[in-house]
Symmetry: C2
Subunit: 285 residues, 2 copies
């Protein structure tokens, strides 16, 4: 990985480990993200693949590093299940492409939103997910890119992911023989309700599987299943407690702000970034 | 309400065990429900408390039975957690009232939507839920009314229920010493995603805790967290498989159609009831 630019802050280190996903500020181009993120002490960036469109990949990686940012991960691979074999092969091919893209921009990790097919049994979908991961793992290892299974909230079990708990993510890692290149991405939004969360995080630490930590908040009421996430502190998730569990598991990577929000996306993105940095400091100072 | 022609089924008894919640046809008064339900071979009714307003309770029970319907349960008690003791006592008082109401109309069961307080830890809320249930159980036993903990989907963990899996419902039953008057209400909408579902249903059968079974379907996409449930067959839940597990657990009670849907509520309720009966027959014939 690239050398990190020093962080200049009135509270030195207060924003340490802050990463923002390009989807969070999707009104900004990738180039604008590289300009605006460092102004708020953001030191990491997770790049969504749509932000790469029309760009030369090696150049993207170089410009990110020149901006003083670390590429934390590439979002997203996955969506392995499908009702026919040809569609499953297309998914494998797309994940192989994602691995090439991650390698080209210097991303050490790809987050997997694993997929699900409405009406197909979740057991069958999880089998197809394991098969799909197995099919692309050798290429990932060869490229030096790790894959992180992201358990998604059970409200997405119909068509986004049949992996809805950390326990299921661990089970897939186990079933594939605990390969070095495979781990878990933990997103507070998806797992905060899980009564096994603390134990599963500790297990992820012990097994070296804790590869990413995404943060945002759960709003009451939530007006939309997809795009009504809250900024940290706006909702009910005990992010301090969960972050302490993540730290206790030995995770030292970035905390990644991933917020899908029609409400925030309607605001000025520079203001949104200011609010992200401020809420992050309140949470972790 | 237009009068509905009687349905003469080519498969007599195909609608056996069909119960409808008054909230499902909330455009109808309780009296209209008693008139319309039996025309579609609906043999059970679960009464929501708002349907009782302004009515003399013993008379309600008599009229339900005269209509040929069985009162399956009263919905709903619960909402035990609160941030101060006075509010928790008010919740206990309200549940004692619900027990009186259930007894008065001849309902053998009250469904508990257990409650949660945004920002209060789910562990604390579950403790308050157990305490609240313990406080009202003697009155329930005295009245011959059982209480059923309904695990709610994790997307309601913020403010509706800190009990989000059958496993947690079992844990509360265990913690209270497995009282005879306490069990579990299983709603397909809330638990269909749970990888432990089959095993937890079997456990509920073995422990005598399986007291109610609610059905509807999960739509893709779901446009609203509360009021966009589907009619059986419209969505992705494997209701046949889940019903087989429920049957295998020894449950012989009614299958209760509980659908919150702005879309269906905007249709003519007689037509909605026809569709409920038709989809029920397709599912179970």
């Amino acid at each position: 990985m690239s050398p990190q630019a020093p962080i200049f802050s009135s509270h030195p280190g207060a924003a340490a480990r802050l990463c923002v996903h390009t989807i969070t500020t999707k009104q900004l181009s990738l180039e604008q993200c590289l300009e605006e993120f460092p102004k708020r002490d953001v030191s990491g960036i997770t790049v969504w693949r749509q932000a790469l469109e029309g760009r030369e990949l090696a150049g993207v990686g170089r410009r990110v590093r020149e901006a003083g940012l670390e590429v934390v991960s590439l979002c997203r691979g996955g969506f392995f299940p499908a009702s026919d074999a040809a569609a499953r092969q297309r998914a494998v091919d797309d994940n192989l492409l994602a691995i090439e893209q991650a390698h080209a921009i210097g991303a050490p990790l790809i987050v997997l939103v694993c997929g699900a097919v409405p009406g197909q049994s979740l057991v069958e979908s999880r089998k197809q997910i394991a098969d799909g991961i197995a099919a692309v793992l050798p290429a990932a290892a060869q490229a030096g890119v790790r894959l992180a299974i992201e358990p998604l909230h059970p409200m997405y079990a119909d068509d986004r992911s049949a992996v809805n708990t950390m326990g299921q993510a661990h089970a897939i890692c186990d079933s594939l023989g605990s390969p070095e290149s495979l781990g878990i991405a933990v997103d507070a939004y998806h797992v905060w309700w899980d009564p096994e969360l603390e134990a599963q995080l500790a297990l992820a630490g012990r097994t070296g599987r804790l590869l990413a930590f995404h943060i945002c908040d759960w709003l009451t009421p939530t007006g939309d299943l997809l795009n009504d996430r809250g900024l940290m502190g706006e909702g009910c998730i005990s992010l301090r407690e969960m972050s302490a569990w993540v730290d206790a598991a030995g995770f030292t990577g970035h905390r990644e702000v991933e917020i899908f929000s029609h409400r925030w996306w309607a605001t000025e993105p520079g203001h949104f970034l200011d609010e992200i940095a401020a809420s992050y400091r309140r949470l972790y100072s």
